[in-house]
Symmetry: C2
Subunit: 348 residues, 2 copies
């Protein structure tokens, strides 16, 4: 909870107010002379794609800032942290809009993917680009006079490059040519997840908070390593919940099996399956026929993947905790632990 | 011509050598752990999309630097100018790869569009993103210690934002809904061209050279205005040559009429056509049937569009020259004139 004007106000509400401010700034950007049509287009595009997620990444910038400051943020500090949080959300929106086009997906956050709207179609590709361009516009407007402005630009550029590179790995591993399970190995999986998800989802929010606190990121390579590990663990959970989670909790019905996804579950299954079981996977993985999905799920049960996941979760947690406790700064330890406890044993 | 090791060496050859150096840097970027497959993918993708154009934009950074310095560039200065020139070319490659997907085009620079290659397909969208990410990687590697580093980042971010915004205008004006010529008006045309083409093709190369020369861009808003005007004139030429140019000179057979493009020619024709002529346009513009194309071309002849273009070219030139001569700096005047004389009355 953040305090404003002496009253406790819901953090998420305050965070969402910053979104409205940023949106109206962008719709009046002097670098472009908007027409009525184009202003309306951007307005709708932003509302459809930016604020509708869980906002965990964005809000964790604010949380991390509070911990690093060891106390409550001033209104100005809250605003700055919130703006950086929204930059993370904007970056994610950009990647999701384009990822849905490339994956030919149908739904996202419980509604049709942006490019599926009849009026939008392939214009969505340029909208993704526009979303990408908004981050530096926001940073320039609100941070250009800060000493850490150039470090923020470098940070967002580096993390975006890593995310796009992870996406490339994913695309050339899992899209190229015919369906081929032989490419789905644990080191391949880990590398894709690290680059495609972990840097922007876990490292970036904390790095934003560290820069705001006046820190030099080169001094936090160990914390970065921990956050990237945590991001990997988070994605393994995501893959687990896609199959074994409760749809009412996770808010969707998983389709990783149908979609031939390079999921932690199938990679693990391929590691431990015998010859017959391998054949079952080859014949049934990546098919939309419900009978095939059922066969894959019952194979996952035969292979005890629930128990193997629980064991993975337990050892990951232990390793993360000891890596966190080896960090020299107590506040950084607290930032990392707070992050870990948000996701440990999550059901959604 | 640039001199190296005391011998005259062809500028373009030297410029292309810098490309090879930049490519190998990118293939060893420590921010990503490349696999053999992904390194090869990027290698091919770059060779296919980055160096195959006329390189006018990139080389004009080097030319502008030489003029601003009033003398020959040192090897180091040549290298820096060349690197910035390649950043402009990379930015263009990024936009072209994505534009071809959005326009569903077939060929580019005399070869199939990148996304048309069977192995590539929609992965091309992410390759566009990777190309976009390369610019800040290159700038960070070669310019991070320069005092103007942050201004380079701001410049590329602003110009990219303007280009993407111009692309949006183009897409929502010319792609949305049914074919509708009533939207094709001169102010609409000018706005699209200014943002989509002029900033990155004309302003950006000169702005790079000004930053390298230690200048503050805020002091050159008049020069910027001239360059944006010149970029508009350049696009009008492009549209003219698409219909009236000699295919052997321009290196392709124009298809703007078939593609229902918002070309200067059709906008002008719509301005001056009588009711019957309007009907001819409505019935024949944007159709691939050669008989329809012939009807549009003969209407353009009836309307004297060649002569109207010549008159436009003459007055544009005069206005540009007097705007150039009003610039306070002689070197800036020379940079702008050299740019103008590269394009005035061009046949290709
Ligand atoms: Mg996807
Ligand atoms: Mg994907
Ligand atoms: Mg998932
Ligand atoms: Mg095009
Ligand atoms: Mg286009
Ligand atoms: Mg053209």
């Amino acid at each position: 909870m953040a305090e404003a004007n002496g009253k406790a106000v819901d953090l998420k509400t305050n965070f969402l107010q910053i979104y409205s401010r940023l949106k109206s700034d962008l719709l009046d950007d002097p670098a472009f002379s908007f027409t009525e049509d184009s202003r309306q287009w951007i307005d709708r595009m932003l509302d459809y794609n930016v604020p509708g997620g869980k906002l965990n990444r964005g809000i964790s910038v604010v949380d991390s800032c509070e911990i690093l400051k060891e106390g409550q943020l001033s209104d100005d500090e809250f605003f700055c942290a919130g703006v950086l949080g929204w930059c993370v959300e904007w970056l994610q929106a950009y990647f999701l809009v384009l990822d849905d086009i490339m994956d030919n997906s149908h739904t996202r956050r419980g509604q049709p993917c942006w490019f599926r709207l009849p009026k939008v179609g392939i214009i969505a590709a340029n909208d993704g680009i526009i979303l990408r361009n908004h981050t530096p516009r926001i940073l320039n407007r609100h941070f250009r006079d800060k000493t850490y402005y150039v470090h923020l630009l470098d940070l967002f550029n580096e993390v975006e490059f890593q995310t796009a590179s992870g996406q490339m790995l994913d695309l050339i591993t899992t899209h190229e040519g015919e369906k081929d399970l032989s490419k789905y190995k644990m080191p391949v999986y880990n590398r894709i997840v690290q680059y495609k998800t972990a840097y922007y989802s876990f490292y970036l929010p904390v790095a934003c908070a560290l820069l705001m606190a006046g820190e030099t990121l080169d001094n936090y390579v160990d914390a970065k390593r921990v956050l990237v590990e945590m991001g990997t663990y988070f994605q393994v959970q995501d893959d687990y919940l896609d199959c074994f989670g409760v749809p009412e909790f996770i808010g969707k019905i998983g389709t990783d099996i149908e979609d031939f996804k390079c999921s932690w579950l199938v990679v693990k299954a391929l590691e431990i399956a015998d010859e017959n079981q391998l054949k079952i996977l080859e014949e049934n993985y990546g098919k939309s026929d419900p009978a095939c999905v059922t066969k894959v799920k019952s194979l996952y049960n035969d292979l005890n993947l629930r128990a193997i996941f629980s064991e993975y979760e337990r050892t990951s947690y232990e390793q993360l905790i000891s890596a966190i406790e080896a960090q020299p700064s107590k506040q950084v330890q607290e930032v990392l632990k707070s992050f870990l406890h948000k996701i440990y044993k999550r059901q959604k």
